[in-house]
């Protein structure tokens, strides 16, 4: 039952009205806590309002362009208009994984192939989990995703309906990766707000892949929140492959880390009209490691914005960020990385780097690394470079018989290499290698 957001009032009002209309039935499950958070979040959303370009964090990304579009709020049940054959091309070749499928943001029991899981582990839809695993959901839901300060997180929290729920119990090593395949397939310009909660307890290890694909040509808008709890000594790898075509995407990823935990995130943006990725990492324990990587390929009028915040609250931690972009045509890239080292967080090593190649005179890159350090015994560095493909390198390769196209492709793949090499799942890396090579 999609609901038209009419244009009569302000954009914020329309969401608030839609919320009131649906909170009684569609949005309200049996989980009282989720319901309570939802109401706090919509109030907070109304106070915050959507950002304009006057807000520092949105200076280079005019999200109002996306928001002005008339979307239908997709609040119905999962649609069944996709077949396993439709999904087949989006499986990772050669990958043996626990497959969980979302269609238009809703968990699809029929398409998912979760298979055998280690004892005590849970992989299911978020909506189901709010009822079947209420204690776990209640302990973690909206604990890390900050809806007080993030308007898109507040909006998602208010409209939280479904998504993925993953729970890895203490000391469990999940051998096979979990592949979350999220497809959008609708003939309407829909707005979707999937909500993921990933809880990885002490000393557990898991690798997650999320691939988001828009199968239809509609201008959809997804506003995703992913909350990750990384318990002490736990390891979590999170790989996101974004291929939204005409659709737009805002992701809000929050990782909360306990002592001695390791969190790795790699985000690959291959298409999408406007993509904004907000990653917020809070290593709230000693000896944590946080790795954030990104690769974005801009063509046409694509706009890709990566915002990261690493908030070093505790001492003896390590964080590393590397974001690389290749921008062609009239595409735009934005990188804003903020590293905060709090006063008591001594012995922090934090590195941040953003490198971009512009392939045309009309592509733009805005890069803003920020370090905010209140401790005195730390090692932090940041750097940003934006340039063109090295003509001498192209000439060198051509003088060995490679065509100009081959030479450029080889150099661009080489440029992307170190981000691609952060993928610790071989079939996924091979797939992206091939896809990216074909793009150049």
């Amino acid at each position: 039952m999609p609901t038209i957001l009419d244009k009569a009032t302000t954009l914020e009002d329309r969401f608030v009205t839609a919320f009131k209309m649906h909170e009684g039935q569609t949005l309200n499950g049996s989980n009282a806590r989720v319901h309570g958070v939802r109401q706090e979040a919509i109030a907070r959303f109304a106070d915050l309002g959507f950002p304009t370009r006057k807000a520092e964090a949105w200076k280079y990304t005019d999200i109002s362009k996306v928001l002005r579009h008339e979307y239908k709020l997709h609040l119905g049940a999962a649609e069944t208009n996709v077949s396993d054959d439709d999904l087949a091309p989006y499986r990772v070749p050669g990958l043996d994984a626990h497959l969980i499928v979302l269609v238009n943001g809703r968990f699809s029991e029929t398409h998912s192939q979760i298979g055998d899981l280690p004892k005590g582990m849970i992989v299911t839809g978020f909506a189901k989990a709010t009822e079947a695993h209420a204690d776990l959901v209640n302990a973690h839901f909206a604990q890390y995703a900050d809806y007080e300060n993030g308007v898109f997180t507040a909006l998602n929290t208010a409209f939280t309906q479904d998504g993925v729920f993953i729970y890895v119990p203490k000391s469990t090593v999940v051998e096979k990766p979990i592949h979350v395949l999220s497809v959008v397939s609708t003939d309407e310009d829909a707005m979707l707000q999937p909500r993921h909660l990933i809880v990885v307890e002490e000393n557990a290890q898991v690798k997650l892949i999320e691939t988001s694909e828009t199968l239809t040509e509609t201008a959809t808008f997804e506003n995703v929140v992913t909350e990750v709890f990384v318990g002490q000594h736990a390891h979590v790898d999170l790989y996101e492959i974004q291929d939204e075509h005409a659709g737009s995407l805002v992701t809000n990823t929050f990782a909360y880390q306990e002592d001695h935990s390791v969190f790795r995130s790699s985000v690959f943006t291959l298409s999408g009209d406007m993509v904004r990725n907000d990653a917020n990492i809070l290593p709230d324990g000693v000896h944590c490691e946080s790795h954030l990587y990104g690769l974005f390929l801009g063509t046409g009028t694509m706009h890709v914005d990566n915002h990261t915040v690493v908030d070093h609250a505790k001492p003896n931690c390590f964080s590393s960020e590397l974001y690389k972009g290749v921008l062609d045509d009239k595409s735009t890239g934005v990188f804003n990385g903020r590293v905060l080292v709090r006063q008591d967080a001594q012995q922090i090593n934090a590195y941040q780097s953003n490198k971009s190649i512009l392939l045309s005179d009309t592509a733009h890159m805005y890069s803003k690394p920020e370090l905010e350090i209140y401790a005195d015994d730390v090692q932090c560095s940041h750097g940003a470079t934006t340039g063109q493909l090295d003509n001498d390198a192209v000439f060198y390769l051509r003088s060995r018989g490679l065509t100009e196209k081959q030479a450029r492709a080889l150099l661009l793949i080489a440029f992307a290499r170190d981000v691609l090499d952060t993928i610790r799942i071989e079939p996924l890396r091979d797939m992206l290698d091939a896809e990216i090579a074909a793009r150049f």
Partner: protein, 255 residues
């Protein structure tokens, strides 16, 4: 028909004329040395022959196996058998030697109507040619020229020469930056590649390289022109008397 025929070649870079009328004929099987002081235009000649785009040809012609070389794209020249060993080989971070060599060798094989080499055969070929120039056999995983020493970079150029088997090889100051041991290795590599149907144009500032790669002809370039040509003895004479002697003798304007 000469393999390479350069006639009255004039070329400039950023509106400054560097080559002021070069004439040179190279036949298959010959080794020509081009010597000259710094700034005389030796490297410009190499760059123009390889097709570097910063150089503008103002006049003259270059015929390679009967075709107009200047009309050919850079990569077309390479596939047609023209090879330039760079004075300053470019570092290509992230491009593995294996991948680079594979693409280069196969693009030339394809041009010659041959099947691409299979992985095993490629590795064998690389190993064999690497041994010839004493290059680290583990180089296939390394990025092209990245972190290579000066000597390794130059040996890598000769390694590529050996792999691509060109008809015309131009060596642009391959000896610069090499000590005598490295120079011998490079020269040995080149000598093994000398053959009846392959010609070399060896550009050098010093005569020492020519002790090891013995040329059939020596040309002296001063101020954008070849002002004197002779046999290998000319190199020794230059070494002894210096370039000023040539300037005086030929009336060439100092560069």
């Amino acid at each position: 028909m000469a393999l390479l025929e350069i006639k009255n070649l004039k070329a400039s870079v950023e509106d400054m004329q560097i080559l002021k009328g070069v004439d040179l004929t190279v036949n298959a099987g010959e080794v020509h040395a081009i010597m000259g002081p710094n700034g005389s235009g030796k490297s410009t000649l190499a760059s123009v022959l390889a097709g570097r785009e910063d150089y503008k040809v103002d006049a003259g012609s270059v015929t390679y196996r009967g075709d107009d070389l200047l009309e050919m794209e850079v990569d077309e020249r390479a596939r047609e058998g023209v090879f330039l060993a760079f004075q300053y080989p470019v570092e290509l971070p992230g491009v593995s030697m294996m991948n680079f060599v594979k693409q280069a060798v196969n693009s030339i094989r394809e041009h010659n109507g041959e099947e691409p080499l299979k992985a095993g055969a490629m590795l064998k070929l690389m190993k064999e040619k690497a041994e010839m120039v004493n290059l680290d056999p583990n180089l296939k995983k390394r990025s092209v020229n990245e972190g290579f020493s000066g000597g390794e970079k130059k040996r890598n150029e000769i390694f590529q020469l050996a792999l691509l088997e060109p008809t015309l090889a131009i060596l642009d100051e391959t000896d610069s930056g090499l000590d005598i041991d490295a120079l011998r290795v490079v020269a040995d590599g080149v000598n093994k590649l000398r053959s009846e149907d392959r010609a070399f144009v060896v550009i050098t500032h010093y005569q020492r390289l020519l002790d090891y790669i013995v040329p059939d002809f020596v040309h002296v370039m001063v101020d954008g022109r070849i002002v004197k040509s002779g046999g290998k003895e000319l190199a020794l004479e230059l070494e002894e008397k210096g370039y000023d002697w040539i300037r005086e003798e030929t009336g060439a304007v100092p560069a």
